[in-house]
């Protein structure tokens, strides 16, 4: 080293080169700090995602853009800081339309992988449901702007054989978007286009015909260290059912869901026969009880709110259940039905009832009657309507994950969640 210095990382003394990028020092010393936009060979680093934030002498700074100086005191692991990093990733999810269930990059997506690594089960920020385009004009690629997190990797990294840039940032601040030079893009070879798709940390850049990467089980975040029994750093429930010796009671409902989550609960297979010995099902699609007949310990909610009836039922659940758990992406942020949130409701109704291929000519009406509930202007997450105590992600969540959480809520049974059981798709 030309100018060796000493810094402290989480209390440990580490040698570094004066002016070296902190993130490199940290990783070389064997510590782990997550990052999303960082690419070693891009200097100065992009510094756009801020996920690699650490405390430098008590002050939060991005470790990729910070330079090591003698005597620095670096903190990586600190409960508040860990939560802040998590919050930044959650913000990224809420900012765009990251519909993991319908995305072909799912499983290979770095943003998603980061969510799994940090144990993000629900974003604490309200989903913005921005209205962005999907650009089909380029020759080889399709740009899905809903998924772009403005990391700038493509701007710096994607070059034609002549070394010309293809992407650039347009506008500023919150309105920043990635612009594309169609002429340059048309000269990209397939190899270059594939490279662009791979370096994009989300599914924003797709190469036509090549985007469905690999089957379930073979994708980047299905294999490797994550598959070998590693567990997700989940936050465990901080509420539990009352210990009063009575048989525990569960209620379930599917609001604006597809019932996949309920089907997943039944995927316990033979375990269902043991389960009914331990718990009693009250109001649920799984029983014949239509109204709550007693106080319920845990209410399991699938689906968000798409009509007035969903809201009424959800509110009733909040009143009658001690603990409410949202399961599945629909209950957590709206899920697939929420894809209509970027389209005016009127257009959805007109397309279905007036303009569909099989609509009758001249006879068009849109259903509206005292006996059917009102459709809401948007699909709402359950947590926007009532307080929800816990969230289990997935589409649908794995049966094991669901029942581990429920058993913890009911009997305080400890559990751990494998990466293979923690998915957003």
């Amino acid at each position: 080293m030309k100018n060796p210095i000493t810094i402290a990382i989480d209390g440990k003394e580490v040698q570094a080169e004066d002016g070296e990028r902190l993130i490199q020092v940290i990783r070389r010393a064997g510590f782990d700090v997550p990052s999303l936009c960082y690419y070693e060979h891009i200097d100065p680093p992009l510094g756009t995602c801020r996920v690699c934030t650490v405390l430098v002498n008590g002050k939060p700074m991005a470790s990729c853009t910070s330079k090591a100086r003698n005597g620095m005191n670096i903190t990586i692991h600190d409960p508040e800081l860990n939560d802040t990093r998590k919050a930044m990733v959650e913000m990224l999810f809420a900012e765009g339309n990251h519909f993991c269930p319908a995305c072909e990059k799912s499983g290979d997506c770095d943003l998603q992988g980061m969510g799994y690594q940090l144990g993000v089960n629900a974003s604490r920020f309200p989903h913005l449901f921005v209205n962005r385009i999907i650009d089909y004009n380029p020759k080889r690629v399709v740009i899905e702007h809903n998924r772009c997190i403005r990391c700038r990797r493509c701007v710096d990294e994607v070059l034609t054989t002549d070394g010309k840039r293809v992407f650039s940032f347009a506008n500023r601040g919150n309105d920043t978007e990635v612009a594309i030079d169609y002429e340059q893009e048309a000269t990209l070879t397939e190899e270059h286009a594939m490279h662009a798709m791979h370096i994009c940390p989300t599914g924003a850049i797709l190469v036509r015909g090549k985007s469905l990467a690999r089957p379930f089980g073979d994708r980047k975040y299905d294999i490797g260290e994550l598959a070998n029994g590693e567990t997700v750093p989940v936050v465990f429930p901080d509420v539990h059912a009352l210990k009063n010796g009575d048989k525990k009671v569960i209620a379930t409902v599917s609001l604006a869901g597809c019932f996949g989550c309920h089907m997943s609960m039944l995927d316990l297979d033979m375990g269902i026969l043991d389960l009914v010995e331990l718990v009693e099902f009250n109001k649920s699609p799984l029983t014949d009880i239509k109204e709550f007949t007693k106080k319920v310990d845990v209410g399991i909610i699938e689906g968000g709110c798409c009509n007035s009836e969903n809201v009424e039922v959800l509110r009733e659940f909040r009143k009658k259940c001690d603990i409410l758990v949202s399961i599945g992406e629909c209950a957590i942020w709206g899920g697939l039905p929420a894809m209509r949130n970027t389209v005016p409701l009127r257009e959805c109704l007109e397309e279905a009832y007036l303009h569909s291929f099989t609509s009758e000519e001249d006879a068009g009406i849109i259903p509206n009657h005292e006996d059917i509930p009102k459709i809401l202007d948007k699909v709402y997450a359950c947590s926007e309507v009532v307080d929800i105590d816990f969230f289990i992600p997935g589409c649908p969540p794995s049966a094991n994950h669901i029942w581990k959480v429920v058993k913890n809520l009911l009997f305080e049974q400890e559990y751990s969640v494998l990466f293979s059981e923690f998915k957003y798709d």
Partner: protein, 482 residues
Amino acid sequence: MQKVIIEPVTRVEGHGKVTIHLDDEGRVKDSFFHIVEFRGFERFIQGHPYWEAPVLVQRLCGICPVSHHIAAAKAIDQLAGLDPKDLSPTATKIRRLLHYGQIFQSHALHFFYLASPDLLFGVDAPVEKRNVVAVALENKELAKKGILMRKFGQEIIRAIAGKRIHGIAAVPGGVHKHLTLEDRDYFLTGKDLPSVDTMIEWMMEVMAFIKDYHGKNAAWLDSFASYPSGHLGLVNATDGSLELYDGRLRAIDADGNRTLDDIRDVDYLQYFAEGVEPWSFLKFPYLRHLGRENGWSRVGPLARLNVCDSIGTPLAQAEFEIYKNYTGGKPNNHTMHFHWARLIEMLHCAELMQSLLHDPDILSDDILRKGERRPEGIGIVEAPRGTLIHHYQADEKGMITRCNLIVSTTHNNEPMNRAVRWVANNILDGQPKLTDTLLNQVEIAIRAYDPCLSCATHAIGQMPLQAVLYDAAGNVLDERLK
């Protein structure tokens, strides 16, 4: 005028509600089966890349996502320039195996978790008993078989699509991955999962049960909610046999005359239209040349066995002949016979899975074909609950511009309304008091159709019903909660 409200009626695509209107003498004037949810798929899928359709659209339903996945797959194959005959034998067989696996699990779910309590305990059994937990206590062996049969189907799906619910199997022009020897043998050895041979064995036991049950309850089964109707389903293009994956559309009227004569499925638009009523979010498909009043058809197992000429697997064919004989070869319009027909299809799927699992083609890795882009794609399959139509248009750049979906249960919208009307007219009419049995019978009529989501909203029990009877002044005369 009085209005009887039954809400929520579950086991439909979403949630449902029944209202029955009585005149001042308490006679039934009219009845309605309202579907109370609306998604907007046809609009919000516009703008999305066409190759995302199967993964997106299967999330319409968590019980039969594979049906939507496969119908959408056939449609995007066409957008990619390939018709069903252009796919590789391996891709076609893997898709068929997937399809039969999901029909098997879906029918198992409906029969064991839903119908079995009624069939075992009868319609007069108390409410607390009418659920699968009670079945498990009285007949643990039957419950275990039901669970394992559903598991078998789900595992077939998992092996092919990567997970049991909402997996990925289809890509434009083929399937995502081939099966390994290990994948395949898991279903044959019987070691970690009862084998496909066991599935067939168990199905023969279930066939014996249902025929016995029919023998003992013929009067009720042959009359309850029976009414004449048209029937629609796919049949094999060559020999008119039962066809679940790819065939011709055939429809008959209540007497067996052809109303749709083996048309190419891609021509469906020339023959079908959909009506809308203000009181339901679900549309009303009908055959254009017969009009809205008479052009509706039932779909699903009852309809499929009415339109087809034979079944292509030996054990199921033998059962089919017994079933057909029952009505002297004429169309079967008995709603309650849906259950019997459903089980014959389950047996057929088990036999088909057995033969595919022994076919070396499914292990080959020749799974993809390429074609020239087309602007339109139509995919029609027989989902467990009936004929399913997916129709997409995409521009030359790959963006979906328009979409039309006619989901199986939509065809059964009018039939289910008629079934409710039948119960209202024949059972409710003139009754001053609502009893448990009365409400239950409305459910039974609807349940026979196995409307989508029936299991999830009703897996171990009955539909939760609330019936309220108001007198002319709006006072509650009677209120029953189940």
